[in-house]
């Protein structure tokens, strides 16, 4: 990817846009939805949000025009140039113009408006062209793009996140630290390695974090591509090679465990007073470390897994429950081997052991699916 010379970018995360006039090739609502979908593609991978206004000066003014349209860069009739846009900034900057001598369509029978809009709006946000032919910001229009499976290429995501960082941990109190999604380098775990195992897994404000060594994948259910980051780029004081992690959703806190210590983090902030010793939770001195943890938000109880046994912690009264530990295999039939990582989602418990993943129905008390560990990572 490339950015405009001088690196112009918006200094705010909420932007307005206005469709000043409409092509007659499509119904108005089809034009509205094409631009809305195009902006959503960028919104999903950045802290940026957009709102449409119908009059006055918006940050991004969108025009359909033919030939000379007042900006010294006339369009050229059907074919060739489809549109152009200006880098972020005041006035004409940030605006996007579309050549109405093209035949704009919802599919690719003509020139697909959504695809060209998403590209031009990439310019409006500060991206220049990309030499990656699979990227949306590649300069030449690709009529063979599969619209049903459209998603930004990693190059596009890396580019826009180099300007604005990743989406916040959908936190009410502002964006997470701007952090590069780390392109896989040699020696880093390969996302779709069939032998991939995880150290720890936790939800975080609607996303799921898969920890491995020094890195973690961050999967939002809204974007197919998971981001890949260094743990230290979000939480410099956290160790790598975690043992376990879980989110206590009612407190908006993720607890992470390594050895006989644990940390509490909210968004990107490690809470003061941590790390604490795991024995403060009520574990006996014989427990040196825990293997995995999951929080059941319905019951408000946390399950801690240690070798072939498990404890249950009542988050309401902040105390380990009596009569524990119990055998994992007794209460989770089918979960027979040591648990590397675990989390709860959609009412199921997901247990990870080596390169396998077990989906467990806690009501039916049985394993409902056996999957590969990286099935959540779009592999």
């Amino acid at each position: 990817f490339t950015t405009f010379p001088g690196l112009p970018k918006w200094r705010k995360t909420h932007l307005t846009y206005r469709i000043v006039n409409y092509t007659l090739d499509l119904p108005r609502e089809a034009v509205d939805s094409a631009f809305e979908k195009a902006l959503k593609a960028w919104e999903e991978v950045t802290p940026l949000t957009f709102s449409k206004i119908s009059e006055g000066e918006a940050d991004i003014m969108i025009f359909f025009a033919v030939r000379d349209h007042g900006d010294f860069i006339p369009f050229d009739g059907p074919g060739n140039v489809l549109g152009h846009a200006y880098a972020p900034g005041p006035g004409i900057n940030g605006d996007a113009h579309f050549d109405d001598d093209e035949q704009w369509t919802k599919d690719t029978s003509g020139t697909n408006l959504f695809l060209v809009a998403a590209h031009e709006l990439g310019h409006s946000l500060g991206l220049y062209h990309s030499a990656d032919p699979t990227a949306l910001m590649y300069p030449v229009y690709n009529p063979r793009t599969d619209l049903t499976r459209f998603h930004l290429a990693q190059d596009d995501v890396n580019g826009i996140q180099s300007l604005y960082g990743p989406p916040p941990m959908s936190s009410p109190d502002g964006p997470a630290a701007p952090t590069e999604s780390v392109p896989p380098e040699p020696g880093t775990p390969a996302t779709c390695d069939p032998a991939l195992s995880f150290d720890a897994i936790s939800s975080l404000r609607g996303e799921i974090l898969f920890f491995k060594d020094r890195h973690f994948w961050r999967k939002s259910l809204r974007t197919p591509e998971p981001g890949f980051y260094l743990i230290s780029s979000f939480w410099p004081s956290l160790p790598s090679g975690l043992d376990a992690a879980y989110e206590e959703t009612s407190k908006d806190i993720v607890f992470t465990f390594k050895g006989n210590q644990f940390w509490a983090i909210r968004g990107t902030e490690v809470q003061a007073g941590y790390p604490k010793g795991i024995h403060t939770l009520g574990f006996p001195p014989s427990v040196r470390k825990i293997d995995a943890a999951l929080f059941d938000k319905e019951k408000e109880k946390t399950y801690f897994f240690v070798e072939d046994k498990y404890w249950r912690f009542d988050e309401k009264i902040q105390s380990m429950e009596p009569d524990f530990p119990k055998k994992i295999a007794d209460d989770f039939p089918g979960v027979d081997s040591k648990v590397d990582a675990a989390f709860e989602a959609f009412g199921f418990y997901y247990f990870f052991s080596g390169s396998s993943q077990l989906e467990f129905d806690p009501n039916a008390k049985k394993v409902t699916h056996v999957l590969k560990t990286n099935s959540w990572l779009n592999c």
Partner: protein
Amino acid sequence: YPVDRAAEDKDSNMDLLQQYLENYYDLAKDVTQFVRRRHSGPVVKKVREMQKFLGLEVTGKLDPDTLAMIRKPRCGVPDVGQ
């Protein structure tokens, strides 16, 4: 006469290439007839730069793949430069 079709096509392809390089690769506009300077250093350098950026084989010449690429619909924003 008759019109030498091949020569005419060649000229129009050259015009197309010149426009493309000036619009998207910051080739300085120059009154000298482009056809005459198409083998000059600056032009060949720009052709190679364009072929590299767009993922074509870098030949420095207006080969069929390059001609096909510069005919394809695209964004009007330049690929390099201001």
